[in-house]
């Protein structure tokens, strides 16, 4: 009985398979015949050959890993930021290193620096409707609403935004809690970009943003097609307020994760723009490829110590670990892209009110570019582990990536050699790793922070006790620190910076993190691409780019 039913099942499956097979065969030849608009993107998806027609205005760009989202309100990652920056535009934008009005035509600031009034220009969304102040109000409220679960909603707090409202269709007023010099710059940041209510409500959790039928944008490019894990294609937005200046006819953004594969594609001419290159190739590229650029970047690569996990709850242990690594050697022989050894967490990109470089002025507590071996050993002995005796095996965790691995291996050996400490390396996938880090179930974890605005606050704000489980991976609590940062938000001028210096010192003396280097950005842009932009937040903008 069983056998017979099994046989019957098999027959049914085979017959079904036959039909499925036939169905596929009959449909395929029919498709090109009735050329429906939805299928016009198909031919473009074939092997790109940009070299054939020299003046073809198509840009082939490697985005890297598929962005988690390209919804401005939800995005928290660099890769998504690149795409968003080309599709949406905020009140202001950064072009050639200067901030200029974008959706806003002009703005006024009250005398006390607390109230910003933006007057919007006659810009249109890609569906032809006007960009209004209400769109901004709705978009900002959406980010702040708890049910949106935006990972970046805290940035409104960091920007000291108190209230905001649309006075009329063209006037948008923002009131701050205290004068905040970097607020204006932040309006060019994706979390502050406008989105359209109808569009967002058409697809939950950012699904609208990757659906060309639902996505409504106000930037230079709009979404033409999106194939998850493979590519997305952008075409010019005809309603963009400077549409006449947009020369590219198409941007093909491919998602090649492997850096060496992407480099091969670039050198073979199938990619025009590349953002990551394998570290092994950097020396060669510096020497022989004039299209290889190393740009400064506002960011710090560091390791976070979990201060709740023994033996890292002892400040001397953390101090020993931090002093024992040779940052210069890592920059020179491991990362190789001109990175600067980091002696504190604040990247050297922002200045205080007196015009001093904040990072330099903050200095370091005993950290040197090269390893301070004797001090490190002394600190370890102070902690009760002379010459590393009795020190348990330490676990160092990083997210799966060649670049992180090689740095971790170098540091593992430095700790072994200088402190006689055994370290186990573990790696986790990015998504899992982020959760692990937030939950604090690690001893030492890799981390990196790219400044969101040009102010030391973007770094120091990470370590407040309210940010435990978000950006304070070390789970460090210091009430004085919290108070200093809270007070700094409303303090004026240099007084504010003095508070930030004090706060910075507190972080350093606690050795809650181990700064390794300040990022640089290694990019490759083919000769034929002109007028490309990479702003100080290291985000691409191809609005005025063209190919020649």
């Amino acid at each position: 009985m069983f056998k017979r039913s099994l046989a019957l099942l098999l027959v049914v499956m085979m017959v079904a398979g036959l039909f499925i097979g036939c169905g596929g065969n009959t449909e395929e030849p029919a498709a090109p015949a009735d050329n429906t608009p939805a299928e016009t993107t198909e031919p473009a998806a074939e092997t790109p050959e940009p070299t054939e027609a020299p003046a073809e205005q198509v840009l082939y760009w490697n985005i890297g890993a598929e962005p988690k989202t390209i919804d401005p309100g939800l995005n928290a990652a660099v890769d998504g930021g690149h795409v968003i920056n080309n599709m949406f535009e905020g009140l202001m934008r950064e072009l050639n290193g200067t901030l200029e009005p974008a959706m806003a035509e002009s703005y006024t600031v009250s005398d006390d620096g607390m109230v910003y009034t933006f007057t919007l220009r006659d810009a249109k969304w890609s569906d032809g409707k006007t960009v209004t102040a209400q769109d901004f109000e709705w978009a900002w409220n959406r980010v702040l609403a708890p049910e949106t679960a935006s990972e970046y909603s805290w940035i409104f707090d960091a920007a000291n935004v108190d209230t905001f409202q649309a006075l009329d269709d063209k006037t948008f007023e923002v009131t701050l809690k205290a004068p905040t010099p970097y607020f204006l710059g932040l309006t060019a940041f994706y979390t502050f970009f406008p989105v359209r209510q109808e569009s967002v409500e058409a697809g939950a959790d950012g699904a609208w943003a990757i659906d060309p039928a639902k996505s409504i944008v106000n930037g230079p490019f709009m979404l033409d097609s999106y194939v998850g894990g493979d590519r997305l294609e952008l075409v010019p937005n005809p309603e963009y307020w400077q549409a006449d200046k947009v020369k590219l006819e198409r941007i093909v953004g491919v998602m090649i994760v492997e850096a060496s594969t992407a480099l091969t594609a670039y050198e073979g001419g199938t990619l025009d723009v590349l953002a990551t290159v394998p570290t092994e190739e950097i020396s060669r590229l510096i020497a022989e490829d004039p299209t290889f650029y190393i740009l400064p970047m506002d960011g710090t690569y560091y390791y976070a110590f979990n201060v709740e996990a023994a033996p890292l709850d002892d400040v001397n242990v953390r101090k020993a670990l931090s002093l024992a690594i040779d940052r210069q050697a890592i920059c020179d022989t491991v990362t190789k892209a001109g990175q600067i050894p980091a002696l504190n967490i604040v990247a050297p990109t922002s200045y205080d009110a007196d015009g001093n470089l904040f990072s330099d002025q903050l200095g370091s507590v005993g950290l040197q570019a090269t390893a301070a071996v004797e001090d490190a050993q002394q600190a370890l002995a102070d902690a009760g582990y002379p010459n590393g005796e009795g020190f348990p095996t330490l676990e160092l965790m990083y997210n799966t990536s060649e670049g992180h691995k090689v740095i971790a291996e170098a540091i593992q050996e430095m700790w072994k050699k200088n402190l006689n400490i055994d370290v186990a390396l573990t790696n986790q996938e990015w998504a899992v790793f982020q959760d692990t880090r937030k939950q604090g179930s690690f001893q030492v974890a890799r981390a990196g922070w790219i400044g969101d605005y040009s102010d030391p606050m973007t770094y120091l704000d990470m370590f407040t006790s309210t940010n435990i489980g978000a950006t304070n991976y070390s789970r460090w609590v210091n009430e004085d620190y919290d108070k200093l940062l809270e007070d700094a938000k409303t303090a004026p001028g240099q007084e504010r910076f003095n508070m930030l210096y004090d706060a910075g010192k507190l972080v350093e003396e606690a050795y809650i993190n181990l700064p390794i280097y300040y990022y640089t950005n290694t990019i490759m842009v083919a000769d034929k691409v002109h007028d490309w932009e990479m702003n100080t937040r290291s985000t691409w903008w191809f609005g005025f780019a063209y190919i020649e």
Partner: protein, 397 residues
């Protein structure tokens, strides 16, 4: 012969050659070994396997380095160094990164020289060696790339105003016989260590599949009926879950590492073995000697372990020999996609993976582990092939 025929009564000497050929009776295994020996490819395979095991076990006597020793100054040095003679027999080596190394004692001593004059804009690095000014001018690299000519010089070495583009000699790197990787670790030491890990994983996975697979298949085949049906459907279900999915899940639950890979491979790979053994047992259990054993009251366990499995051993051994390269390859593949053993441990797969980003500049780092992986897989396949022929009674001559 003729002389002997004169006396017909003389006793003839017993000559072995003229007597009727009496062969010593050979057991199954002796016969198999005899036939295996005749198979040249299998013996080559066996030889390679023995060599690899010796390499893994005793190789580290040939290198003074440990697999984890780093010297960041010595990163990415190849096995053979193209040297320039800067006069008085002083040899220098220009690294692919356009830094200068002093080569002494015919390659037995290497020193990275400190850069004295570094100019990134004009693309040169200046040194002083033995009182002479040595400049590596790598501005040619960009032109060489533009020309598209692979042989165009990428740098020139200017020694006291004399320019050299072609190396004057070549010495073997006697400090690091097979070169170093990107962190300045000895490739030979890492390959030896990798051999240990790769072979260890292969043997653990094989042992696990031997015990689980043989017992599972044996029980299923011998008991038969509903038990067989249920057990084989379980096997079918396990076989349908893709290995990769399985491994990634285990990585998340247990955490990556040697243990996880062994568990993952061991828990999936036995299903083939179970099927093979079951098939064998199904036919063997109908034999008279099994019936005889049963008649005299032998327990099921005894019949299985003493009668059934030994008689199915031929196909089992063949499948084991074939499974070892499979396990090595799977491990290499898992390591290659980043699901392998933890650093600084290295298997051949992780070594190959580490080398991929630098493929264009330092191809030897990828070649060495790849050759070893291919060689091992090939050797085990040759051996497995020969074993199949040797252990199959139907092919007996």
């Amino acid at each position: 012969m003729e002389t002997k025929m004169t006396n017909k009564w003389e006793r003839l000497e017993l000559k072995a050659a003229e007597s009727e050929a009496v062969r010593k009776s050979l057991t199954y295994w002796q016969d198999a070994w005899r036939r295996l020996k005749k198979n040249v490819l299998s013996m080559v395979g066996l030889g390679i396997i023995i060599l690899l095991m010796l390499f893994a076990a005793f190789g580290n006597f040939f290198t003074e380095w440990s697999f984890s020793d780093q010297d960041l100054d010595m990163s990415n040095l190849p096995p053979t160094l193209d040297t320039f003679d800067i006069g008085d027999g002083t040899l220098v080596y220009v690294h692919k990164e356009y830094t200068l190394y002093l080569v002494e004692e015919d390659g037995a001593k290497l020193t990275k020289l400190p850069i004295e004059d570094k100019n990134v804009m004009k693309k040169y690095n200046g040194y002083t060696v033995d009182g002479k000014t040595v400049v590596i001018d790598y501005s040619l690299a960009a032109k060489a790339k533009q020309s598209g000519d692979a042989d165009a010089p990428k740098f020139q070495l200017i020694i006291d105003d004399q320019s050299f583009t072609v190396p004057t000699g070549q010495v073997y790197n006697k400090v690091y016989v097979l070169g170093t990787d990107r962190l300045g670790r000895d490739m030979l030491a890492r390959l030896i260590y990798g051999a240990r890990i790769s072979l260890l994983i292969a043997f653990i996975a094989t042992a696990v599949q031997f015990f689980i697979g043989v017992l599972y298949g044996g029980i299923s085949g011998y008991i038969g009926g509903t038990v067989d049906n249920i057990m084989m459907r379980i096997v079918d279900i396990i076989a349908t879950v893709p290995l990769l999915l399985y491994v990634i899940l285990l990585m998340v639950v247990i955490g990556p590492g040697l243990k996880t890979i062994c568990i993952a491979l061991g828990s999936v790979y036995w299903v083939n073995m179970a099927r093979i053994v079951r098939g064998q047992i199904l036919s063997i259990k109908e034999q008279e000697y099994v019936l005889a054993a049963r008649t005299i009251g032998a327990s099921t366990w005894r019949i299985m372990v003493r009668h059934l499995i030994p008689n199915a051993l031929g196909p089992i051994i063949v499948s084991l020999a074939m499974m070892i390269p499979n396990a090595i390859f799977t491990e290499a593949f898992l390591s290659f996609i980043g699901l392998g053993v933890n650093a600084p441990m290295a298997s051949w797969g992780t070594l190959a993976n580490d080398a991929v980003p630098g493929l264009r500049s330092y191809a030897y780092q990828l070649m060495l582990p790849s050759i070893l992986i291919s060689l091992t897989v090939l050797a085990f396949n040759f051996l497995g092939d020969g074993l199949r022929d040797a252990l199959d009674p139907r092919l007996r001559k």
